[in-house]
């Protein structure tokens, strides 16, 4: 009850006309910057925070909230429309989201992403309100061995995106894992496969590879076949609203995505991509028509987008309860909080209730604002797809190239983008799926770090993965996920 009263007071502060105006401004600015190529949430927030300096704390927080959720959302728009994910958390969205756009269902994809983000954001903010401290206590139980097991579990996602040919899928996965080895090895500080190029020391950016394989490779492939094929219609087919069927197929993935996203987001080393992978896997396994996945299944947009947004709220749990920034964006938010004398940590909720509840109330409102802004914008965004084909392709390539440069203000990334784009074109020609490569590239390095960390701490004792209950159960689930479909298939064919 006390929590509730505190929250209500927070709302009364946040909902003055002026504050709502700031919130709206935050959402508009961050959505606009978020869709620019190569500008991920962290940079968006870093660019916009100075705008809030010198404001009243209450106004500043509500604007932060708008900026935070807006920046998280911006990336999915380009994923769906242009197959150009702006940050790693919206890579999974591109798989089916862009396929939907090509079928003239871009509006529905954008709508399910926007509404899913709203639903997930709201539920996750409620969870943040009531269970943040408990959540964080549980999250701390995760040790390196458990993280490794979680990564292995996420790696089973690859079984959902392998495609028809096992060998081609595995080749793509191994290519991704190999790319993930490039760069300085954290535990020893030694450079691996960097060919003496300093820009490769930090490894190859996932976004460069995703955009290279998806946007550049795919575009080159379509161009190469342009004259042999009749034009597909990209633009809007039928209504721009979600049909009853779309709603029916979306609501469960939203909820499941939220359930995955929030707790994993709250894990100090959970990462924003893992819940999106797991959500994709879950939806495909539970779907009655798994064959639609990869070809424009709305569940595959609804689930991962909800997971992505819920994990963004989950990140705030350790940030507020421990003062522990678990993502670059969170680190920037932390610095901003400190500007206003908020010292996140175990005593925050007791010491500065007004500020915290004001912030949490702002998050609810920011989330709602985002939906109000983005739903009407759907109609505008899909117009992009009516641009004549040659211009659209040229636009995608330009957008992708600019994005690769903006990522790190570095020409090496642009060169890499095009090398990977050409490889992606080759993969597409030989029907090698590109998604396993991305899964391998993201999860490989994470899993390796945690694996080695676990072994370093245990001084080389490998049983550490099997003696911890958390790690063991995650590994068993992962094994079942891989083996069960085989057994089921065998049984079905036997019957």
């Amino acid at each position: 009850m006390e929590t509730f009263n505190a929250l209500m007071h927070g709302f009364s502060v946040a909902t003055t006309m002026g504050n709502l105006g700031w919130c709206f401004l935050g959402v508009v600015l961050s959505t606009a910057i978020g869709v620019l190529p190569g500008i991920g949430p962290a940079l968006t927030v870093a660019l916009l925070l100075p705008v809030t300096y010198g404001m009243e704390p209450a106004s500043a927080f509500i604007m932060f909230a708008g900026i935070y959720y807006g920046a998280m959302y911006g990336g999915s728009t380009t994923s769906i429309l242009l197959n150009t994910p702006g940050e790693s958390a919206s890579i999974v969205t591109a798989l089916d989201g862009h396929a939907m756009a090509r079928q003239g269902r871009g509006a529905q994809a954008l709508a399910t992403a926007a509404i899913g983000s709203f639903v997930a954001g709201t539920i996750a903010t409620i969870a943040l309100t009531f269970v943040a401290p408990l959540m964080v206590k549980l999250a701390l139980l995760f040790g390196p061995a458990d993280y490794f097991a979680l990564m292995v579990l996420a790696l089973t996602t690859v079984t959902a995106v392998l495609g028809n040919s096992l060998s081609r899928g595995l080749a793509s996965l191994l290519f991704g894992l190999a790319l993930g080895l490039v760069g300085i090895d954290l535990q020893t500080g030694q450079a691996r496969f960097t060919l003496g190029i300093p820009e490769l020391l930090d490894g190859i950016d996932v976004v460069v590879v995703a955009v290279g394989l998806f946007a550049v490779g795919e575009t080159l492939f379509t161009l190469a076949r342009h004259r042999y094929e009749t034009e597909e219609i990209y633009a809007l087919k039928g209504s721009k609203w979600m049909s009853r069927e779309d709603w029916r197929r979306s609501w469960k993935p939203w909820l499941r995505g939220t359930a995955l996203g929030f707790p994993i987001g709250a894990l100090p080393a959970g990462g924003s991509e893992i819940p999106t992978f797991l959500s994709y896997l879950t939806e495909k396994r539970l779907s009655k028509n798994p064959e639609e996945f990869g070809k424009g299944a709305i569940e595959a947009v609804a689930g991962p987008e909800a997971a992505n947004n819920a994990s963004a709220a989950g990140v705030l749990a350790p940030l507020l309860a421990l003062g522990l920034p678990t993502s670059a964006t969170a680190a920037i938010m932390l610095a901003a909080f400190q500007q206003y004398g908020i010292q996140p940590g175990p005593t925050l909720f007791d010491k500065q209730p007004e500020l915290v509840w004001g912030l949490i109330a702002s998050l609810y409102i920011g989330n709602l604002m985002l939906l109000i802004l983005n739903l009407p914008l759907v109609g505008v965004w899909v117009k992009v797809l009516t641009v004549p084909r040659p211009w659209l392709y040229a636009g995608i390539l330009l957008f992708a190239t600019m994005g690769a440069y903006t990522l790190n203000n570095n020409i090496t990334d642009v060169v890499l983008l095009w090398i990977i784009g050409i490889i992606g074109f080759g993969m597409r020609c030989f029907s090698v799926p590109v998604a396993p490569c991305i899964v391998g590239l993201i999860l490989g390095p994470l899993a390796e770090q945690q694996f080695r960390r676990a072994l370093t701490i245990s001084q080389g004792d490998a049983t550490v993965f099997l003696t911890q209950p958390l790690s063991l159960s995650l590994l068993i689930i992962a094994a079942l996920l891989v083996i069960l479909p085989f057994i089921l298939r065998r049984r079905r064919s036997a019957a």
């Binding site: 962290a42 940079l43 927030v45 870093a46 100075p50 300096y53 999250a139 701390l140 139980l141 995760f142 040790g143 390196p144 300085i184 954290l186 535990q187 020893t188 500080g189 450079a191 300093p198 820009e199 020391l201 930090d202 100090p268 080393a269 350790p318 421990l322 003062g323 522990l324 920034p325 678990t326 670059a328 964006t329 969170a330 680190a331 920037i332 610095a335 400190q338 500007q339 004398g341 010292q343 996140p344 940590g345 175990p346 005593t347 925050l348 790190n408 203000n409 570095n410 770090q449 960390r453 370093t456 701490i457 001084q459």
Partner: protein, 324 residues
């Protein structure tokens, strides 16, 4: 065209008005109108935070009218450094450097080093702390030393990247305590947040990172700080230094600002003056305080000498730890 002329006229007018208001002494040194500040790491990192703090104060004090922060991450800062030194600047540019960059240059054997830049000033510092979970049986630094001497591998250290201040401090600490620095079980984490999580969860024996990362948990009693790495105690923090605990060692993390070697003399003087003015302002003092940074300002020549010393010391520490 008319629009442009009108704007130019406006700028001129404003410029004249401003010039008229500046006292004669200040007018002698031309002000920088724009500055590009390169942070050799990603948004949210330590270099980035310093860059944005400097940006905020320089702009709000009107010392430089437009400051732009650019992030170039990679290779422990060496990618940013190389890009800073090798590209021809179109406008005045400065780079944020620090302890980790010195280590990064050495451990990546970067072709471009800090000898290739012009020091402007050291700006801030912070000290590391060694912490254990409240439930740990290690009560004092002496307990830790005893444990290390018994079996260095059994004590796992959660800390930041190889060659960074946490790693170097851990190595120097071992050496000063009479333990082989190559034998310590140092587990690299990506940043102070992960270190904190690892120690709080009891996954690593001890954590080593900037004191600010741990402050809230030390205050709440979830963590016990065994010692801080600085020469003196942190103001208002009841944690002994290494020296007080009988380990003859002091390490401080620091960050500063350097200029492009090709910067025009007039611009460099203007930047030096602007920074010297900035560090005297109450806004800067406030910026340091909110972030828990120590004011460790050093002007250009002292900072230059310090850089040389520090490079030698960090290089030796990395050799002792078996990294180089």
């Amino acid at each position: 065209m008319t629009d442009l002329t009108r704007r130019a006229f406006g700028v001129l007018l404003a410029g004249t008005a401003a010039a008229a208001m500046i006292p004669a002494s200040a007018r002698a040194e031309a002000m920088l109108s724009s500055l590009e500040l390169l942070a050799p790491s990603s948004p949210g990192s330590g270099y980035d935070q310093l860059a944005r703090a400097v940006q905020g104060v320089l702009q709000s004090k009107g010392l430089v009218s437009a400051v732009e922060v650019v992030n170039v991450a990679g290779g422990g800062g060496t990618v940013g450094l190389a890009q800073f030194v090798t590209t021809r600047p179109r406008k005045p540019t400065a780079l944020i450097v620090g302890f980790a960059l010195v280590g990064g240059v050495l451990s990546t054997q970067s072709a471009v080093t800090l000898k290739d830049v012009t020091p402007i000033a050291r700006l801030m510092g912070d000290v590391d702390a060694i912490v254990v979970p409240a439930s740990s049986d290690i009560k004092t630094l002496a307990d830790l030393v005893a444990k290390l001497k018994e079996n260095p591998g059994a004590v796992s250290w959660a800390g930041g990247s190889i060659g960074g201040v946490d790693h170097v401090t851990a190595g120097l600490f071992a050496k000063a305590a009479g333990v082989d620095p190559t034998a310590i079980n140092y587990v690299v984490h990506a940043g102070g947040g992960e270190v904190l999580a690892s120690v709080l969860g009891g996954h690593a024996t001890v954590g080593i990172s900037g004191y600010e990362e741990f402050r809230a948990q030390v205050d709440s009693g979830d963590l016990r700080a065994l010692a801080v790495s600085g020469e003196t105690r942190i103001e208002g923090v009841d944690v002994p230094t290494f020296k007080e605990s009988g380990i003859d060692l002091a390490v401080q993390n620091w960050r500063g600002i350097v200029a492009n070697p090709r910067m025009k003399d007039a611009d460099r003087d203007a930047l030096t003056a602007a920074i010297a003015e900035m560090v005297k302002s109450p806004e800067w003092a406030e910026a340091l305080k909110t972030r828990g940074w120590i004011d460790s300002y050093q002007p250009a020549d002292e900072f230059g000498a310090f850089l040389t010393e520090e490079t030698t010391r960090i290089g030796q520490a990395l050799k002792d730890a078996g990294v180089l």
